[in-house]
Every structure is written in C-alpha cells, then in structure tokens.
C-alpha cells in the first residue's frame, strides 16, 4: 500500500500557548514495502507527522493519500485508515490492560470484528513476529519484563496486520539486546507480510542499521529525504541540526580529513571495516610499486 503525504501542515492552537506550527508543508512518498526511518530531535514535528498519517490528528492543510485516496475525505475512510496504518506510540507497554498477554494482543483484531478463530491465529502469528515465547501468552502482561511488555504491545498492533506499521521510538530505554529483539521483529514483519514499516527515532545508529529510506525532520520541516546512502552523505548538515551521525561515520570523516581516499557514505561498522581493508590493500599495492 502506497502512503503519500502532500503539503501536510499542522498548527497547534493549544489552549494557553500561542499557535505553533508543528508540521510545515511536508510532502513525501513512503515506498511500499520499505523500512523507512523518520529522524529528528524532540520537537522537530516527527511525532505530529506520524499521528496525521493514520488520522489521529487532522492536518490544518494538505492530504494523506493511501493508494491515492485522501484518508480525510470522509468518516468511513478515516476509520478504515486507522486499521490500515497501525501506529505504535512511544513506551507502548503503558497501554497494556488485559488479563492475559493473548487477550491484549487480540484487542485490536477484536475491534476489527474478526472471528474468534481468526483472532487466535493473528495472536499467535503476532507473537511469533516479535519473538515472544508462546508460553507467555497465558500470563498477565503486568508480570513480564520491560522488554517483553514492549514486544507484547507492538504485537498488539501487528495482530491487526496493518499494511503500514508506524512506530514511535520503538526501542527507547532498552539495552542493546532488547533493541535487537525489537528491530528483528520489525524486519520479520516486513519480510513476511510485505508491509511498509516506518520507524520514528532519534538514534542515527539504529537508522544506519535498519532504515532503507530516511526522512529527516528539522524545525517542523522536511529537511532531507532519500535513500540511506544519500542521507548519510550529508553528515555535516545532520550534525548542524543537532542530530548525531554514528561514531563510525565520524571516524571515517576524520580519516578523510587527514587525506585518505574513503567513500563518504559509511555508517556501519561492517561497512567501515570493508572500506578500510580495501584501502589498506590499495595502499600496500601502491607502496609495493612505488619502491
């Protein structure tokens, strides 16, 4: 399913404060079946942007097109959009409420008015996506560890099998293993259902590892958008708006400054290793002929 944003703007009129433009004229196309990252620091408008993508917030102007249809065109389309675009908020574990994990995961499918059999299948399937032990399904969600709770909450939205799944900071506060488990689950969901996954984050390292396309938000506007390679070429611009490029990118740019001929789109340790080995081999060849 194709998701397209056309000149989206949102102004908060907020009771006591002055009107504030949270999103300003953003247009973008989210590629079907991609893992797309939306990055920006707190207050850059990224959270407001994703809440418009599934119709929780109504834009002040502009359109959100799902396969070419504006989701705000009528009430029914809007309600359908909620099911087509699944949204997982930050710290989703705070929304768990059912007696058992299985029931909690099944809450969304139940609201979709699916049959009990279908709900059961979806629940198992979603638990598998996020790598949740099936033995946990009968437990109370409140007895789980933090990382497990997070995965239950994400499974709760996956069980609705949205063609587009959006997550706001899905891994925040988790340790490296916990992060891996979450992102692994998201990749599995995309690979097995062909859905589009949109990840909102302020961690450039996670973006570098998992996002194929990236939108960069800054000061309510879309600063950059494109493939991961294209985005990471702009390391200096990213730093200037307060985003942190991965350490390894800093390391490579330091070497480039020192005159080494290295590519400008390295953002993972694996990539850096390969590039440095290649350069070392090249330097050795040149050294050999030079003598």
């Amino acid at each position: 399913m194709k998701l397209e944003l056309k000149n989206l703007s949102y102004t908060y009129s907020g009771g006591t404060t002055f009107a504030r433009q949270a999103v300003d004229d953003v247009s973008a196309v989210i590629r079907e079946g991609s893992i797309t990252g939306i990055i920006g620091h707190t207050g850059s408008g990224k959270s407001t942007l994703v809440q418009m993508m599934n119709g929780l917030l109504t834009p002040s102007s502009g359109e959100v097109l799902l396969d070419g249809v504006n989701i705000f065109s009528d009430k029914k389309t809007l309600r359908d959009a909620r099911f087509k675009v699944g949204l997982v908020f930050q710290y989703p574990e705070y929304q768990l409420f059912e007696e058992t994990v299985a029931k909690d995961i099944g809450f969304g499918p139940k609201n979709q008015k699916l049959s009990p059999e279908e709900i059961a299948t979806r629940t198992l399937e979603a638990a598998d996506f996020v790598g949740l032990d099936r033995e946990l399904l009968g437990k109370s969600p409140f007895d789980l560890s933090g990382g497990q709770k997070r995965r239950v909450a994400i499974a709760g939205v996956m069980a609705m099998r949205p063609p587009i799944l959006i997550l706001d900071e899905p891994a925040s506060g988790l340790d490296p293993v916990g992060r891996e488990e979450i992102f692994g689950g998201l990749c599995r969901y995309r690979d097995q259902t062909g859905a589009t996954v949109v990840i909102v984050s302020h961690s450039m390292e996670d973006m570098a590892r998992y996002a194929e396309d990236i939108l960069v938000m800054s000061d309510s506007r879309l600063l950059l958008s494109g493939s991961r390679d294209e985005i990471f070429k702009n390391a200096d611009l990213l730093c200037s708006v307060g985003l942190d490029v991965p350490e390894v990118t800093h390391l490579i740019s330091e070497l480039r400054r020192r005159g080494y001929d290295l590519p400008d789109n390295i953002y993972t340790v694996e990539g850096a290793e390969a590039a440095l080995r290649a350069l070392k081999a090249k330097l050795q060849r040149e050294g050999a002929t030079g003598c």
Binding site: G146, G173, D175, S203, E247, V248, L251, L255, V269
Partner: protein, 277 residues
Amino acid sequence: MPFIETKNLSFTYTDEDDPQPVLHEVSLSFEKGEFVAILGRNGSGKSTFAKLLNLVLEATDGTITIDGKSVHAELSEAEIIDLRKKVGMVFQNPDNQLVATVVEEDVAFGPENLGIEPAEIRRRVDEALEIVGMTDYARHAPHKLSGGQKQRIAIAGVIAMLPDCILFDESTAMLDPRGRAEVMETVEKLNREQGITVLLITHNMDEAVRADRVVVIDDGRVQMDGTPREVFAKVDELFALGLAVPQATELAARLELSGVPLTPVEGADAVENWFNT
C-alpha cells in the same frame, strides 16, 4: 579508606512462591572523587545495587560501609537521613521524582527536609540551579520543561543537600540525544569541578567511556572492573553479556588493530598506524 565499600553484598527479592536472587556477593569499593560507570543489561541487578546503597532496600546478606559508617537494620532515623544525605540519587523517569510545582521549590525540598535555615536554603538552591545551568527557569513549572531540563532540576535538588556522592540510576535512559548530552555534561562538571563522587548506572557505552572506571555487572555478579580501556578491550566478552562497545573499539577489534581506541579520533589514529605498518 574507600568512601563506599560493599562486602559480599547479596539481595534476594522475597516473593512468597519464588524468591528471586538478584545480587550475589558483590564486593566493590569506591573512592572519594571517583567517576565510576556501572554497566549492565536490563535486569542485571545494577538498579538493586543502587537501592541498597541508598538504604531503600535492605541487604539479605553482606555489609555496606558509607564514609566509615556501617549500614545495618538498627540505624536510627537520624542516622539513616545522615547517610542518605551523603549519597544522593537521581532516577530514570524525570517526571516521577519532582515533588513541587515550581522548579526552585522542588530544589528546596531536600534541604527543607534536613531542617536547614531558610536563608541558607535560598543560597543553596540558587547555587545548585547555577551549577546545572537552570537559573533562568527557577520560577517555571517542571511539567513544562524538556526531559533533559527536568533531570537537571532533579540533579540540582540532590546537589542542594550537599552530598559527597551522587548515584545516577539510568538517568539518561528516557532522554533524547540532546537531553542526554545536557545531563552528561552536568555529571562530568559535578565530578570535575565540585569533586562529587559519581556512580553512573547505565547501559549506554558512550556514557561509560567518559568515566574513570567501569564496573560490569551481569546476573547479579561483578564481571569486570577496570578503566574503560581495560574493560572495552574485552569486546567479545561484552557482546556475550549482551552489551555493546563503542563503534571505534568494535572496528579496531574487527581489524585487529593494536590498542583500544574509545573515540572516533583515537580510532582514526589507530587506523592510520595500521596503514603505516
């Protein structure tokens, strides 16, 4: 004599049906003025360790000595308060540790509990806000501040009690990169300029690198203890414990470079050396 010393410290959560051991015979000592990072996965027992040091929990076994005073069950309220004053705590969730509806009133909360003279409280509050760089926000409402600002207020509230040591229990985990940078800058400043002993509990490697010493806890046991360079040299062991290392360190390990670079610049130096051999 170390400022804080624990000997064979153990703790077991007493849940009726299944008692869960969280800490096993942890023996550690921290000198005055040290900046120590305590590294471990979620659920490794590092937060329990913090709660024991602040007398929120009581050890199942083993001893704790703080500034020469030993911690035991028969301490009077005055003695407990005196110990808590020495070791301040800053917690993870910035929202759940601010008591008052005005920033400066919140900072004053600790000294007020200690029964300090109003004029002296005023002086301490102003100074604490100055140290964390929040003087301009003295009359603001905490719930309208950013996460990083709230944490700095929480830090000011602890500094105003003039502690010798501050324990940060994953105080940056819920913050964005900007908030994290603000808090880390404050933490370093407290250690370098105010001479406050800092125990920083975290699972973030970039923060641990900035400490003088890193202690790795896993499964309730001390697994490693040394300078950041000594600890991060053990890349494979850390990965096995479910932790990460700085990217420069990981890259150097993959390329089998000599030395343990911790920062991008050190990494670049190591790579350059490697090119020249």
